[in-house]
Each structure stands twice: as C-alpha cells, then as structure tokens.
Amino acid sequence: MSDTTGTEIKVQPSSGVPLIMNIFRQLGIIAGGCALIAAMIGKRDLAGFIALMQGDQLAPMAAALVFVSASLGSLWKTAHNEWIKRTLADEVSDDLARVQAHGPAKLIIAIIAALGLTSCATIGSGASPAQKLFEARGYYNVVKAAAVDYAESPTADRRVVREIAHIRDLAQPSVDYVDAYVACRAEGQETVRIRGVVDPVDCRTFNFSAASISGAAIALRTAATQILAKTGGK
C-alpha cells in the first residue's frame, strides 16, 4: 500500500491540477449528483426534486448526495490519473491503475446503497417489531445477493471476497436472533434451532424487548452497508 501511495504522489502532485479544472470538477460533481439522485427517484423535473428534498426524505437524500458527490470526485480522479498515466508517465505501476479503478465501482455501489437506504421504509417509522426485522433481514439478503454475484464474477478479488465472508460471519448472531424471533414469537414455539448449535435453544434465553429488536435490525443494516462498501472495492 505504501508503494501505491508513493507512486500516486509522484504521478499527481496536488498542485498539478489547474484551478479552472478544480472549479469545473466541483460544478460537475454537484450537477451530476443532483441529476443522478433526481433520476434515481424518478423525478426528472427540478420542481419535483426540490419538493422531495423539502419533505421527510431530506436526511437520506442528503446522505445520498454526499455519497454520490464523493464518488463522482473519485471517478473524476480516476479519469484524470488515467490521462496522466497515458500521456505523461509510461512507467506507472499496475497497482496504481488497480486502485484507481475502484472509483467507478464506488459510484455504482453508492447509488445502490442510496437506493437501499431510501427504500428502508421502516427506519424511524411506526412499523411493528416484526416488520422492522423482516425488512432489515430482507435488505441484508438483497445486499448479500449482490456480494454473491460479485464473488462469482470473473473479476472478483479474492481478498475482498474473504472480507465479505468475514463480515457475514460477524453478522450471523443477528440473523440467528431473527430466526429465534420468528420461532418464538411469530410461531409461538418454546425452543429454536440455531445453526451451528446441536441442541434446540430455549426461547427464554433471548431478549425480545423493543430496544433489542431495533438493535438487531440496525446490526443487519450496518453489516449490509459494510458488505456493499467491500463489494465496491476499498
């Protein structure tokens, strides 16, 4: 990693970007971010977009805007470094190109993440505990499906796949908790079978308070976000 950083400093000194390009970049980021988010929510006219920003979706939309802006900046940097690499420096290591290639990947993943977050209708709403757990578990599945698609693709990075599997393992207790909730509360059983545990577990060992259920839902969403971030590259 230190090699890569060293190469990057050598190739692209911070003073090497003309001021006009910087301004152009900032404007591009803002316009592009707004256009992407507007397109994302199916409101392609400005008035509809502003109305939505003023509504109760302001916070997730602002988060999405920050995500997309940062990613567009990263995308621009990738293109710029590619241009420098092709025109000025022939001996840039493949490592640099590999690291920079994550820019566009992050952009796509950021859009998916923003979509996922804005579609989590149960966050902070009056949804029942079962509804909250169901949606969090469903969102976790959606993200895991994307990670599996990536892991099975020909361009998958083995280290990234290993890290995704590790995050999945860490999130397993939350998944088990949802299973326990279903067996003990939704189905009214007295014991639950947990993966990896030989004997059925007594339902009384689980805490199904509202706070505990919210905690499990948040843990699943956090794990999903971490998996998305890994899928998009480091």
Binding site: R137, V148, V182
Partner: protein, 69 residues
C-alpha cells in the same frame, strides 16, 4: 490493469447493480403492502426469506473457498 479489464469490471458491476435494484424493488413489493395494511409477516414470508439467506450463504462459502481455499 488494461482498459479491457476495466470495462469488463464495470460491466460486471453494472449487471450486479441492475440485479440489486430489481431485488430491492421485489423486497419493497412485499414490505410496502405489509406496512400499508399494518399486518406482520406471515410464517410463509419468513420461511421464504430464511431459505433465500441459507442459499446465499452456501454460494458465498463456495465462491470464497474457490478463491481462497
């Protein structure tokens, strides 16, 4: 990384992205009416969600052992 590889990776991600959006919409198609009707998920809906998760875990483990095993 040459430009062909970069394009291949972007295509991969575009496919993954499109599939993910479809899946997110499919989830919303189940959760949306559930919230609107104010009802809890049925045992069948829970079972479908669980089966999906088990299948994904198996595929992730297979891909992981193929790459890192």
């Amino acid at each position: 990384m040459d430009i062909a590889k970069l394009i291949l990776r972007l295509l991969d991600l575009a496919v993954v992205g499109a599939l993910t959006m479809e899946r997110a919409q499919a989830l919303q198609a189940v959760v949306g009416p559930m919230l609107a009707e104010g009802r809890d998920p049925t045992p069948d809906e829970w079972a479908a969600l669980r089966a999906q998760g088990v299948d994904l875990d198996a595929r992730l483990d297979a891909a992981n052992s193929l790459l890192n095993g």
